[in-house]
Amino acid sequence: MSVNLNTRQVGDVTVVDVAGRITLGEGSSALRETLKEIVGKGQKNILLNLGEVSYIDSSGIGELVSGFTTVTNAGGKLKLLNLNKRVKDLLQITKLYTVFDVHEDEAHAVRSFA
């Protein structure tokens, strides 16, 4: 499996459950397309649940940054949920941990968009 992306609506927030690998190729392009589609529908509040992401490389990190910029430029907010140690370590090393609004609890994360 490369990556699975499931989208669901929780109030005004679109939650994207990401599972698998976000690496160069299918994984990163699938994430890009999904975010583009959500923004295209006019959704402003997006929460990326990365709890089931098993692997991310520099291309995947770049895709998170790209998504963040795309959503922000469209007047929305992109936040991250449930980072595992591997993803968290990479975001810390690259100093991106402070760029993203990161949450550990979904209900709390959803409320933070209000």
Binding site: L24, D57, S59, G62, V65, S66, R86, L90, T94, V99
Partner: protein, 146 residues
């Protein structure tokens, strides 16, 4: 660190196509070899990602997916040094003058973190230009008893 008391001379060498499948293959080979050499899970993750980033650079930026160009990959343990070499047949680029991805003005760039991650995760990183064309990178991870 795992059991590093076992001496190992195991090594691999491959000539790989310029495809993303080769990236996965090289990563699997390196991680398997490093695991048998006794590296622990944390080091295996670092070695795997560093090899992946090196292979992506060779396939995508070096050979530009050119089916006529190969990527030479080798990995092996010698003493306490796990060494990986990745060589492409591309035009090469200046590894020493890459933008610092940690600078505020570069934080939101969507690329340019690969070499930084390799340097962060390995104990040594060297790059050299090959004649008549290509770049060879050498990555080293030192086995340290934990």
């Amino acid at each position: 660190m795992g059991d590093l008391s076992r001496p190992t001379t195991e090594s691999v060498e491959r000539s790989l196509d310029s495809t993303l499948d080769s990236v996965d293959h090289a990563e699997d080979l390196a991680v398997g070899l490093a695991r048998r050499a006794g590296f622990d899970e944390e080091d295996l993750i670092k070695i795997g990602l560093a090899v992946r980033e090196s292979m992506v650079n060779a396939v995508v930026h070096g050979n530009r997916y050119n089916t006529n160009k190969k990527v030479r990959f080798s990995a092996g343990m010698s003493g306490n040094r796990f060494t990986v070499r990745v060589a492409d047949e591309g035009e090469g680029f200046d590894h020493a003058n890459l933008p610092d991805p940690l600078k505020a003005e570069n934080l939101l760039r969507t690329s340019g973190r690969g070499i930084f991650l390799i340097r962060s995760f390995m104990d040594d990183f060297q790059a050299r230009h090959l004649e008549p064309a290509g770049t060879e990178v050498t990555l080293v991870k030192i086995a340290v008893s934990k």
